[in-house]
């Protein structure tokens, strides 16, 4: 009788497998999740606004006719936080605006917290943030034409000529780190003039923010960087609050809570504008929840707007991804959501997320170059993303606000939209277009019609006026405004059915058949600053030669 074979190979393989399983089991059994705990009230909380707020905040609230302090400014009840701690859960950042606190808790601890009489709700909140930067397939060298274009497309020279550089405006920049801002020559003016008034790292809970991911360095440069005397952004005279609110790209577990805490910190320190190139998508939310009311950051951004702050946030880079639509907090009604434009084509850049919000709000609101020359850890580089469109517009907004300090943040919001190069035309990738400085400096500017609707029998044509007809030279590629014709079709309920951009190559630029439309439909066309609509009931006019 032969002996049994030693169980060598299979047992070894089994041992390895078991090791994997035990590792997995260990990670499962030790699971602690992060939850957002909302309290019912702020019982016992006391608050002294003069001690808490920067003098700027109080002044700003007085100017905007906002109460110096209301219940949302009171801190979370210390007694309630103690009760949470007694369950064994670990406290993280709390929010006075949302009257809650982030906690790290086991399932049992979570249930104990839920049973506390002071607790209104407990929500799970593990999610990832997306830094709205796209890595190009091939790195591009520094590009002077692009550097000029990223501000000149917004007519930045007009602001400069009027000495509007954001002076007197305080901008809070939320990002994943600001390495190099303390050393790079791009930020020498900021340092020399002591324009960086406060910094805080909400991830590591310390003031030093000049480390970690370079992304914040890049976004800040698109607001206030100066490279060889060329402005990289428009608000070179503004003051700054720098907040590190996210881990680097390689660390996926960053949370909304840092954004919340930073928003309250920015309010405390008198911020006028928040520029955030961060967004949250499918790690926690469904796309139908991008309604500006669901996510914690959207709710916080809305409160920030109520406190008088203009919140500017990236629309996101999900245009080619399954998610496809804007992220949050760009979905919030009071947040200026910024899409990206391809500078070579002067229209939607392929990755920029699509609107509207899930409840139909027009998003994005504006757009700017989605490709920019930015400050990196080592000198300048070309980068892609709505991350960079956002600070470009934030810098623009600072200059616009400087020109009309009597405006509230929401006045400014509305005026910025009106300054869009497409306004009153909008669609769901450009919003109202790229903001134009001339709007703020010459309000009496009029626009001549550039095209006509021509209706003959069953045909509808859009004919360019002679002065605006196409010439080949004008349509050359490069970093310059191009002769793009925008048009959209809306149904009888005002819902956008389709939107389009054509290159205006011929005088008769559009040609439709009436039977393709239904009564109540409308076509709106925008070309060279002029917008006009055609409502389809008007087709009853027989052989009408021209209708403007």
């Amino acid at each position: 009788m032969k002996k049994h074979q030693p169980p060598s190979r299979y047992l070894f393989a089994g041992g390895l497998f078991l090791l994997c399983l035990l590792t997995s089991l260990a990670s499962f059994s030790g699971t602690q999740e992060k939850y957002w705990v909302t309290f019912k009230d702020k019982n016992g909380s006391v608050f002294n606004p003069e001690a808490y707020f920067d003098a700027r905040t109080i002044l700003q609230r007085k100017q905007l006719n906002i109460a110096i302090a209301d219940s949302t400014d009171f801190p979370v009840s210390g007694n309630y936080l103690s009760l949470i701690e007694k369950t064994g859960a670990k406290l993280s950042w709390s929010s006075r605006w949302l009257n809650g606190v982030a906690v790290i808790a086991s399932p049992e601890q979570k249930e104990n917290i839920r049973k506390l009489p002071c607790v209104l709700d407990v929500e799970q909140m593990s999610l990832n943030a997306t830094i709205s930067e796209v890595k190009p397939k091939t790195p591009e060298k520094e590009n002077i034409d692009l550097l000029r274009f990223q501000t000149s497309r917004m007519q930045g020279d007009l602001f400069k000529k009027e000495k509007l550089d954001g002076t007197g405006i305080r901008i809070a920049v939320f990002d994943a780190g600001f390495p190099g801002v303390d050393k790079s020559p791009v930020f020498k003016k900021l340092r020399d003039e002591k324009k960086i008034v406060a910094t805080y790292d909400f991830v590591s809970k310390k003031e030093f923010v000049y480390g970690h991911h370079w992304h914040g360095c890049a976004t800040l440069s698109c607001i206030a960087g100066i490279a060889d005397s060329l402005n990289m952004g428009l608000a070179t005279g503004a003051e700054f609050l720098l907040a590190r609110t996210e881990y680097a790209l390689r660390e996926p577990a960053s949370e909304e809570e840092y954004w919340l805490a930073a928003a309250e910190w920015a309010d405390q320190h008198g911020a006028n504008i928040i520029s955030s190139s961060l967004g949250y998508t499918n790690k926690r939310y469904f796309s139908n929840e991008m309604n500006g009311r669901k996510s914690l950051v959207a709710r916080a951004a809305t409160i920030a707007a109520q406190k008088g702050i203009l919140v500017v946030n990236a629309a996101g880079n999900e245009g080619q991804e399954d998610w496809h639509i804007i992220d949050t907090p760009a979905d919030a009604d009071s947040v200026l959501a910024i899409g990206g434009v391809d500078p070579e084509r002067d229209l939607h850049i392929y990755f920029s997320s699509y609107g509207p919000s899930s409840d139909g709000k027009m998003k994005p609101n504006l757009c700017a170059s989605g490709k920019a020359v930015v400050a990196g850890k080592k000198g300048l580089k070309t980068s892609f993303g709505t991350s960079f469109s956002t600070p470009l517009v934030a810098g623009f907004a600072a200059c616009a606000w400087q020109s009309h300090r009597e405006w509230t943040n929401m006045d400014l919001f509305a005026e910025l939209q009106k300054s869009g190069h497409l306004y009153p035309y909008f669609d769901y990738v450009h919003g109202y277009g790229i903001p134009q400085a001339s709007y703020f400096l010459d309000k009496n500017k009029t626009v001549d019609p550039t095209f006509d609707f021509v209706i003959v029998n069953n045909e509808i044509k859009v004919i360019l006026r002679e002065k605006y007809s196409y010439t080949a030279d004008e349509n050359a590629m490069g970093y310059s405004a191009r002769r793009n014709l925008f048009y959209k079709v809306e149904d009888q309920f005002g819902r956008m059915v389709s939107y389009n951009v054509l290159l205006a190559e011929e005088k008769e630029v559009l040609h439709f058949l009436a039977e393709d439309f239904r009564e109540g439909d409308a076509i709106t066309v925008h070309f060279e600053g002029y917008t006009s609509s055609l409502d389809f009931p008007k087709l009853d006019i027989p052989d009408d030669p021209i209708q403007k």
Partner: protein, 237 residues
Amino acid sequence: MNSRAGKLSAIVVLFFMMTSLHAQTVLLHVDRATDSIPSKHGQNMPRYIYPFIKLGWVLGPDEKGARISYGNSIDFAFGIKKKYKVGSIYSFGWEAQLDYQVFKMVQDSGKIVPNPIQNKTERLDFSALRIGFFNRFNLDPDRGNTLGTFVDIGVSGEWNYTVRNIIKNDLLNGSKVSSAIKNQPYYTDLNAYGELRFGLGRLAFYGTYRFTDLFRPRFNFPELPRLIAGFELSLGN
């Protein structure tokens, strides 16, 4: 080109045909009816359909004439399963897997299966495609975005697409010879199993019991053990 880009290209072509008699360059066309369909799936989707691997050991009692080497007789499988949620406690689902069972045969004097010849080593390898149905009872209805703690009770059927009798021997001249004998008449093509799983997140402990015989009755072979137990690891996020 991804599917979205492909769809967009098709729309652009269609757009040309429908709306314009002129050769205009379309730079952007978004038809909201087709381009704005919201996703119906969230981040919990990987807990509804996911691949898995499993490894088990033959545990059931062997019979005289078909003694096996325990520890060396294993069950390895990989496959995919899909769950349909009925409520927070009950779900059901299906699974498909490629299963590989190895029975290491003890070479003793009473050996019958698959023949009385004693070799240096011998094993019977069953390669099968197995399709199953399971009922899942979750023990933590408030589990959130995890597989949670669950008990699965299911049945499955398999088709043995290959059965190999692999024997190894040393020859007198010192060389070694290994032979794989296939297409033998003694095994059955189809088998049925019952399965019980206890899951803790990605990890599950499973036990299967084979209801049917591996060998055709006319050969009068003693049966190989019916019980297998082991671990299953889900490979979803």
